[in-house]
């Protein structure tokens, strides 16, 4: 974490002090015997947007999926090292992954609304979590926050699969918001969307960053540059045995990563020389 430099007048948002939500130290992730990611140190700041970029197979999604213990669902997946959520060990023995996922929401690469009505999609999370309060207002609030309310308020009973791809993805964001998480993880949320839908999601992320901590994995460097406060650049290294391991190369304020990266590999990547 020593390479996190904080300060600089050119920084767009006030991110002087890094108020950590996640503190990752020496994280490696194994799939069986294969070490997919090796030795990651990273800090995710409260109510910031942190982007994780890098070429395919660099382990950025794998790291993201550790933050809500989604990797638990993959047989053989096993993290080593530490991830702290505030000051609680995310992989501690007492930790219930279900509670983790309620507090740390996730939006996926491909919009995955349930084959239910728009209303029931939003109401699902609050229901399974036994949330109190009037369901109608919970649904409305989530849809308003996800900037989807005006488009769907007259057809809440319609099947969510009848929405366009971009609307489906905003529905998935609304669904995540409805359970009132603290963090929203986004795994390439725009990669299946057209540019107009992408712009809407990016605008929405800026809005949401006021209330939520957002971590986004993206293939799209411009997207990282547009939306994020800090950027973590990952790459894949081939070791002597010929195995590829994801490594964190550089983690810094986004403006610095894109204007004055300290690592040659980062510079090569963002200038399009590889990846």
């Amino acid at each position: 974490m020593q390479n996190v430099s904080v300060r600089g007048p050119e920084v767009p948002r006030n991110i002087e002090a890094l108020d950590p939500v996640f503190t990752v130290s020496d994280l490696s992730v194994f799939y069986g015997a294969y070490e997919a990611v090796r030795g990651v140190d990273l800090t995710i700041g409260n109510r910031e947007i942190t982007a994780m970029i890098g070429p395919s197979g660099c382990g950025k999604s794998t790291v993201l999926r550790c933050f809500n213990r989604m990797n638990d669902l993959i047989p053989g997946a096993r993290p080593a090292g530490k991830i702290f959520f505030h000051d609680e060990d995310l992989y501690g023995d007492h930790v219930d992954p279900i509670e983790v996922r309620r507090r740390i929401g996730m939006v996926f690469q491909k919009p995955n609304p349930f084959p239910k009505s728009i209303y029931d999609n939003i109401a699902y999370g609050p229901k399974v979590n036994g949330m109190k309060g009037k369901m109608d207002s919970i649904v409305e609030e989530a849809l308003i926050k996800a900037a989807l309310w005006d488009e769907v308020k007259d057809k809440l009973k319609q099947n969510a699969l009848s929405l366009s791809g971009g609307q489906q993805q905003r529905l998935c964001i609304a669904r995540a918001i409805a359970v009132k998480p603290e963090v929203i993880l986004m795994d390439e949320p725009c990669s299946a969307l057209d540019p107009i839908a992408t712009t809407k999601i990016e605008d929405l992320m800026q809005e949401l960053a006021r209330d939520y901590t957002i971590v986004i994995v993206t293939h799209n460097m411009q997207q990282a540059a547009r939306v994020s406060d800090r950027t973590a650049f990952f790459t894949a290294e081939v070791d002597d045995a010929g195995e590829r391991h994801g490594r964190l190369v550089e983690f810094d304020e986004t403006s610095r990563i894109f204007t004055n990266p300290s690592d040659k590999r980062t510079e090569d990547y963002i200038t399009g020389r590889f990846g």
């Binding site: 047989p75 996922r101 309620r102 996730m106 995955n112």
Partner: protein, 313 residues
């Protein structure tokens, strides 16, 4: 290789027309079509074979008597043709079977698709499907010689007859469990993993994800599985003939001996009903009714499946 290179080399002009006739292709096409036609032709043949004696039957016995009275005994003297006792017996045994098979089959499907490790699934599913290969005569004998005495021991107050609809229905249920389980599991396994992840990411447990996301998403396939199982149960003959008996009594009490439609056909067909006699024609009339019932069932399931089908791109 070299010859091919030469042939496609620029400058060589070769016609794009077929260089030699491909007879194999047309032969295969005819053979495949014939195979497809045979099953269609068989179905049409069955309908035609059922139709004529059925029409003859109804020229002698009125619709009113067939559907309007509740005494069945076409093989007796005097003969009675009120079909309701055997319809009721058929539906009742089917109902018992469904009550057994749907919860068991669905639970097994949820276990296999959502909870079992790939290794367990790989062993378990074929074993389950072996159950579907057990000859039904074995189930029937098992019901008669084992289940009925057991039920009599455990529930003496039921006053079970030696042959009864309850034991027959239970075993028909066991027989159709693999159909429900295997086909439901197929359709649950086809639910995109993204839906499960979406549910887990909202803090849902495995049980809630299975019951409230996976099962509804696989609903059309599950309905199809259940309907197919019901069709099998309605037409099941051996178990009900052995364990359910042949006595056609108009009753809803499953502790009684009952004759289903299929059991009646087996009984009358293996007896000495002479061709052209009224008893002989009755077999076809009951056969037609059974055919119509399963046909309506299958048609209904096709409609239902269409209605609830979710299209995932």
């Amino acid at each position: 290789m070299a010859a091919q290179d030469q042939a496609t080399a620029p400058g060589t002009s070769r016609s794009l027309a077929r260089s030699r006739p491909r007879y194999g292709e047309s032969v295969i096409k005819v053979v495949l079509m014939a195979a497809a036609m045979i099953s269609v032709a068989t179905t049409i043949g069955i309908v035609a074979a059922l139709l004529e004696p059925t029409i003859e039957f109804f020229s002698e016995i009125s619709f009113g008597e067939f559907f309007g009275s509740t005494t069945w005994g076409p093989l007796f003297n005097p003969a009675h043709f009120g079909v309701w006792p055997i319809i009721v017996a058929t539906l009742e045994i089917t109902l018992i079977a469904v009550v057994v098979a749907v919860p068991l089959g669905l639970a097994a499907a949820i276990y296999l698709s959502e909870y079992a490790t790939p290794r367990v699934r790989k062993i378990f599913k074929p074993v389950l499907e072996v159950l579907a290969g057990v000859p039904t005569v074995v189930f029937g004998f098992f019901a008669l010689a084992f289940v009925t005495p057991l039920l009599r021991d455990w529930f003496p107050f039921l006053d079970l007859e030696a042959k009864n609809a309850l034991a027959a229905g239970l075993l028909v249920g066991v027989m159709i469990v693999p159909i429900v389980a295997s086909l439901s599991e197929d359709s649950m396994a086809a639910v995109p993993n993204g839906l499960r992840e979406g549910s887990y990411a909202l803090g849902a447990s495995k049980m809630l994800t299975s019951v409230r996301v996976v099962v509804p998403a696989a609903f059309s396939g599950i309905v199809a599985a259940v309907i197919l199982a019901i069709s099998r149960a309605i037409g099941e003959t051996m178990i009900v003939a052995i364990a359910g008996g042949f006595k056609a009594v108009f009753t809803f009490n499953p502790t009684n001996e009952m004759s289903t439609m299929a059991a009646f056909i087996a009984q009358a067909g293996s007896g000495d009903a002479s061709v052209g006699s009224i008893a002989y024609k009755t077999i076809f009339a009951v056969g037609s009714l059974l055919f119509i019932m399963t046909f309506v069932m299958n048609w209904f399931s096709a409609r239902l499946v269409q209605k609830y089908r979710e299209v995932y791109d």
